[in-house]
Symmetry: C2
Subunit: 376 residues, 2 copies
């Protein structure tokens, strides 16, 4: 695995872009949605089923995996791909975001973050160097810089200080990552919603030089309008010849709005988490399968969808198994949601290739405006 | 669907039998193990995965389905096969066993059992006539008589009274079932561990006449030795030209002992329930995947097993996802267990066809005597 990773931009439509990230483990068609496999599994899914939805790449979480089963154990077992039976590319986050949201007794210093595990209380350090080491042990194809991600709203001074710390950590991450042909390192832009801080962050990252650039620090409570406001300028500040990754996004309309603004990659737990709580996403919006209106409905979630949940089961069945708390409820709805998300990405890739993103966007919103099918 | 169901006995080896139950929905190779799909799903499994393990038939539970989503609703939706996406045969129990073990405030009379739902407290009646109606609404291919199943130990008078009630209910079940070409009705022998009561029950059932005969009232707390003691005579009391079904059994060695004694069909929640609690069954016995000895073990559960859990995952992974309470743990272990059970049935069918059941049984016990593979 010595072939380099590279990004090929194939077409644009407005600011929307389509292309391919080429990696030794396979191509990632962009714009790409990455399902989240937090603890070495996309919850409720077999990995071959995740692949069947059209996913080219998964996201794994450094924070969870370092604590359980540990990165060293996964390395001894042959790496994360083999461990979880997924041979396509894997991107791992740096652990920075989740250590701040999940860990106990965390302490932030210039060196990094010390914290106690939320699982067993054991003490750990995450730093740029340790994060790079863990992601290498996991065998991640796309490694993320270790950064700090402040919650929004935050005052400008805090955002400024945090961004500068993240940029120093980005330089240390690059140094620690070293030269690893076939593996990519992405920098993460910070700066909250402040255009000048975002520009300063982008400049610092460009000077260090990365294989891709993430827009970090969004989808942390600011709301869609504020996020889109930031995405009106943030992606433009990043190099055009490298992939741009918006972390932790989002709902289908968030994703469409992000792609429209020049984003190439996204990840989110939403389709899988929704699937486990009885929420389905279709072309016509969100369906709450718990609702009694579905109890006798022989129709599928979406008659045009080709996923197993829609091909083989009625809304009545999906309603029943959710009510009965059967595992197949989460299995089928997660599959449907991931299938819908991947189909949405393919539709956008096709529209961009045809230079018709505006047409796609109009149809996307028109379908949703119709709302769910009317009860029988 | 007007073709009749029939049983063809192909070979015997000692008392062990192999054959085929032919139904309009497909052949059931015997001895057969039926996975349990209580609430219109085999827990943690997609139905196509259940079929891939080699199952020819599923069991559905009348008691659960009549309460939720209700038999009338399933009938309106096209029947249980279509509802749960399983087009092979389905056997449904009569509800008699579970109404006594699960329902609240039950009251037994000659007419049947009135009870309150354990789900919502609603009041219901189960009787031979209502059980036949429900099983017809579900579209069950093999319908079971409504019976009473006393817990063991029980005194002889109670067993006698209960058996006679069940035989009166068997006659009413036959009358209510009527003439339904392509669908089979099975009688259920009762009588506890008493040979003369079992004989009397068998005689009553033979006089009514059924398409198959179940040995009921076992696996209810009497222990394996007592159960085998009863199976030394009970199957012999039933017609040889019809399938014999031992209800609610069991562990692998229970199943082998039952087949040895002339049983053709069995069902049990054990392989799926075990799979959700970290217990795997292999040729070499039971494996508790929770045990820390597996945390670093790169080997599969059983290197000779061809199920997805064994082909694609290490014990270390299975241990990790169980500890992390990930759904894929139950999905993989259930698949493995059902695969192992079906492979065991196929091995027995082959051994009987080769008139070598004794040889099979010796190898079965020798493999188990070895115990699980030693830790690395």
């Amino acid at each position: 695995m010595t072939r380099a990773s590279s990004f090929r931009l194939d077409a644009t439509s407005g600011k929307a872009r389509t292309g391919v990230i080429q990696t030794p483990r396979g191509d990632i068609r962009t714009p790409a949605f990455m399902p989240v496999g937090t603890a070495a599994t996309v919850k409720a899914m077999m990995p071959e089923s995740v692949a069947a939805t059209g996913a080219d790449i998964l996201l794994g979480n450094t924070y969870h995996l370092m604590l359980r089963p540990t990165a060293e154990r996964i390395a001894n077992l042959g790496g994360l791909h083999s461990f979880m039976n997924w041979d396509k590319p894997i991107l791992t986050d740096s652990g920075g975001f989740q250590v701040m949201s999940l860990a106990d007794l965390r302490k932030l210093t210039e060196e990094g973050v010390t914290f106690r595990s939320h699982i067993d209380g054991s003490k750990h350090l995450l730093s740029p160097e340790r994060s790079m080491e863990i992601q290498k042990l996991l065998g991640s194809d796309i490694v993320m810089c270790f950064d700090e991600c402040p919650a929004l709203p935050a005052d400008r001074k805090a955002l400024d200080d945090s961004m500068r710390l993240s940029m120093r950590w980005a330089a240390r991450s690059k140094e620690a990552f070293g030269d690893r042909p076939g593996y990519a390192l992405f920098g993460i832009q910070q700066g909250g919603l402040e255009e000048d801080l975002r520009e300063e962050s982008a400049k610092a990252l460009r000077e260090i030089g990365f294989d891709g650039y993430a827009v970090g620090g969004l989808a942390v409570g600011e709301g869609q309008a504020a996020m889109f406001g930031c995405l009106d300028f943030a992606p433009d500040q990043l190099p055009t010849d490298k992939p741009r990754y918006l972390m932790g996004v989002g709902k289908p309309d968030d994703i469409v709005g992000a792609v429209k603004r020049g984003i190439d990659m996204m990840d989110c737990v939403l389709p899988s988490r929704s699937g486990r709580t009885g929420q389905a996403w279709t072309r016509r919006g969100q369906v709450n399968i718990k609702n009694a209106r579905h109890a006798d409905d022989p129709r599928p979630l979406d008659e045009d969808c080709t996923c197993p949940a829609c091909r083989n089961y009625s809304r009545a069945y999906l309603h029943h198994v959710f009510r009965a708390q059967e595992m197949i409820s989460g299995m089928l709805l997660t599959w449907h949601n991931l299938h819908y998300y991947q189909e949405l990405m393919q539709t956008m890739r096709d529209a961009i290739a045809a230079n018709d993103f505006a047409g796609f966007e109009a149809r996307f919103h028109a379908d949703r405006a119709e709302g769910d099918i009317v009860p029988l």
